[in-house]
């Protein structure tokens, strides 16, 4: 007991100093603040599926940009003497189970038989001897372009339509929603097919046809969100402080709906790619030598039994694109709205 008291005496007054009382420091934020986007990105990074999707998308976009230029063949260059060669890749051709050694399913080395021993066609060639690698990436480029353009048009029309409908409400909303009810009653696939029949087949008519009904989903989501948001207190506060309609929409409503908009777009893109492939598949797509993934697959189907490689590679790529966008879309949905997470 006494020992302890003695020790306490060792602690002298000069070891202390008064605490600084400064009210301004109480409010100081010690760490960098985490905004909505940063928070979402942090959550997204933790989701392996979403990151896989993101990596696949970036890789495929890069290949779609640079792939067609990676060898000396162009997508429309025909040479019948080298038609329907199987895939052959340098180095990998020595590993027989990969099936990229230029030997067809009957077991003959087509490159030797047709006198192209020195050539390498990484995905083989199609029925006109066009390089399949170049065509597949050219097709991917066009498919992605169509999807991106369709998604952009859906975005513009959908956000404007849904936003106006919800923000102004009342009679405007009523009329706009009745129009949508009728449009929703028509199976969109059939409407798309009818529109494509009227326009001349081509990239832009496909984009237009996809946009005819594509924006409805987006407009519904934006309308729902804006309806929910516009009655909340922060909007009321902003209005009370004298904000104009433009400011309320631009500063408060749109930033809060943006997450939902991005998610919807992420699902619009694979949808558009599927519909484009579908149209090409039933013979309403691009005209050769133009190619999209769908038309390349459709072409390959004619000789599926003997030359499966013509279907295999584009099928893998279109599936990868669809999987990647779906994974990223799911991941973004979880990242933007953790409440929904199960």
């Amino acid at each position: 007991m006494s020992m302890k008291q003695e020790k306490l005496h060792d602690i002298s007054d000069d070891m202390f100093q008064p605490a600084k009382i400064d009210s301004s420091e109480n409010e100081q934020i010690a760490r960098e603040s985490t905004g909505f986007w940063k928070d979402a990105w942090r959550r997204l990074k933790k989701n392996p599926g979403a990151i896989t999707g993101l990596v696949i998308i970036v890789a495929i976009i890069l290949l779609a940009i640079f792939g067609p230029g990676m060898n000396e063949h162009s997508y429309s260059e025909q040479e019948l003497t080298r038609a329907k060669l199987p895939a052959r890749v340098p180095v990998l051709e020595n590993i027989s189970f990969l099936g990229v050694n230029g030997v067809d399913i009957r077991g003959t080395d087509q490159y030797e038989a047709k006198g192209y021993e020195d050539e390498y066609f990484w995905f083989g060639t199609d029925e006109f001897g066009r390089d399949q690698w170049t065509r597949v990436w050219q097709g991917t480029r066009i498919s992605l372009f169509i999807a991106a353009a369709a998604a952009f048009i859906d975005f513009v029309i959908g956000v404007a339509y849904g936003g106006i409908s919800a923000y102004y409400g009342g009679r405007v909303d009523n009329i706009l929603q009745r129009i949508i009810e009728v449009l929703v009653g028509i199976p969109n696939l059939i409407l798309i097919i009818l529109f494509i029949l009227i326009f001349e087949p081509g990239i832009f008519s496909i984009i237009l046809a996809l946009s005819v009904t594509g924006w409805i989903g987006m407009s519904r989501i934006v309308r729902g969100q804006v309806l929910k948001l516009k009655s909340q207190e922060f909007v009321l506060a902003s209005r009370t402080l004298g904000a104009t309609s433009g400011r309320v929409i631009g500063k408060h409503l749109i930033p809060n709906v943006l997450g939902q908009i991005i998610i919807t777009t992420m699902f619009t893109i694979p949808n558009a790619i599927f519909f484009e492939a579908f149209l090409s598949f039933i013979g309403l797509g691009l005209r050769p030598p133009e190619a999209s993934l769908g038309s390349i697959i459709n072409n390959g189907f004619k000789s599926l039994q003997i030359y499966p490689h013509l279907v295999l590679w584009p099928s893998i790529i279109i599936s990868l694109i669809m999987i990647a966008f779906n994974l990223l879309g799911d991941g973004l949905r979880d990242a933007f709205d953790p409440k929904l997470r199960k």
Partner: protein
């Protein structure tokens, strides 16, 4: 309820009439000629053919005639098949499509429900992740890719199943898998989410607390309540099935309505295009209506009558 259904049926008819008119005018805008041997025909023959099918009348007259016939159930005659009735052709073709669609829907729903329930009960386990992988693949991989891969591996390479055509049950297996994949994936995913939602509810805790066996809790309380919202995704699923039959019938050379539709597009057979379009639209509208009504009956919390919209 009765008033609600009456109102819905009226708006359904209006929608249908709008679709019919839209289809008609879109058809009129189509380029190309419906007669497949036009080059060989003389000027007079073309005029005669046009007369025969009423194509020389002014468009409003044609429209009026078409709508009049439509309301009495007459869809007109095919241009390509020597004036056969469109309704007869649809009647002949509907069999395989309906069979395929229903089989895919039933098989897909059962497998999907099963996978979804298992995934939710074994949440965060290997089974759960496996099911989710299947669901993402099923939603992502286009049905024609699945069909092509199966045709090559199961049909050509291993010769387990017939490659194409329509001649007995074995011929339906591959098309059914290709169409049902999207159904399985959608339902499994949806059911899993709903099950997890229900499992977290207070009444499940109550049921457990009062000493019900876990089987009874799962079957009587969880699965029953989780299945209700499944009806809401039936509309989109039916669209998926329709899209499915269009391509899949083409790939497997099945003499169904989808295959006829695609071929009539490629040959400019306007009456068939219009007939099938209207048929598909009607099917779609009716399904949506049934879904809404059923939903109201099963879940009384959703007030159909009285409320706006």
């Amino acid at each position: 309820m009765g008033r609600y259904i009456g109102g819905r049926i009226i708006s359904m008819l209006i929608t249908f009439l709008i679709i019919a008119s839209l289809t008609f005018f879109l058809m009129k805008l189509l380029p190309g000629t419906p007669f497949n041997n036009q080059d060989k025909l003389t000027e007079t023959q073309i005029v005669q053919l046009n007369d025969k099918y009423g194509l020389n009348d002014p468009v409003p007259v044609q429209y009026f005639n078409y709508m009049k016939n439509l309301l009495s159930g007459d869809l007109g005659v095919s241009f390509q098949q020597d004036g056969r009735e469109v309704s007869t052709i649809i009647g002949e073709r509907i069999g395989p499509s309906a069979y395929l669609g229903l089989q895919s829907l039933v098989v897909g729903t059962i497998i999907g429900l099963f996978l979804g329930i298992i995934a939710a009960l074994k949440h965060n386990s290997f089974l759960d992740y496996g099911t989710m992988v299947i669901a993402v693949l099923g939603i992502s991989i286009p049905n024609f890719v699945i069909a092509g891969l199966m045709q090559y591996w199961l049909g050509v390479k291993w010769q387990l199943l017939p490659v194409a055509y329509w001649d007995g049950f074995a011929y339906t297996i591959m098309p059914t898998i290709a169409i049902a994949s999207i159904v399985v994936a959608t339902i499994a995913r949806f059911m899993r989410t709903e099950m997890l939602e229900v499992l977290g509810q207070d009444y499940i805790t109550t049921a457990k607390a009062k000493g019900l066996s876990s089987t009874a809790v799962v079957i009587r309380h969880t699965i029953r309540n989780a299945s209700i919202p499944i009806i809401t995704i039936m509309g989109p699923l039916v669209v998926g099935l329709m899209t499915g039959t269009l391509v899949i019938e083409q790939i497997f050379v099945i003499p169904g309505l989808g295959e006829k539709f695609v071929n009539s597009i490629l040959t400019n057979d306007f009456p068939i295009i219009m007939g099938t379009t209207l048929f598909f639209s009607l099917l779609f509208i009716v399904v949506i209506l049934l879904v809404d009504i059923m939903y109201g009956i099963i879940d009384p919390r959703i007030r159909l009558a009285g409320g706006k919209g």
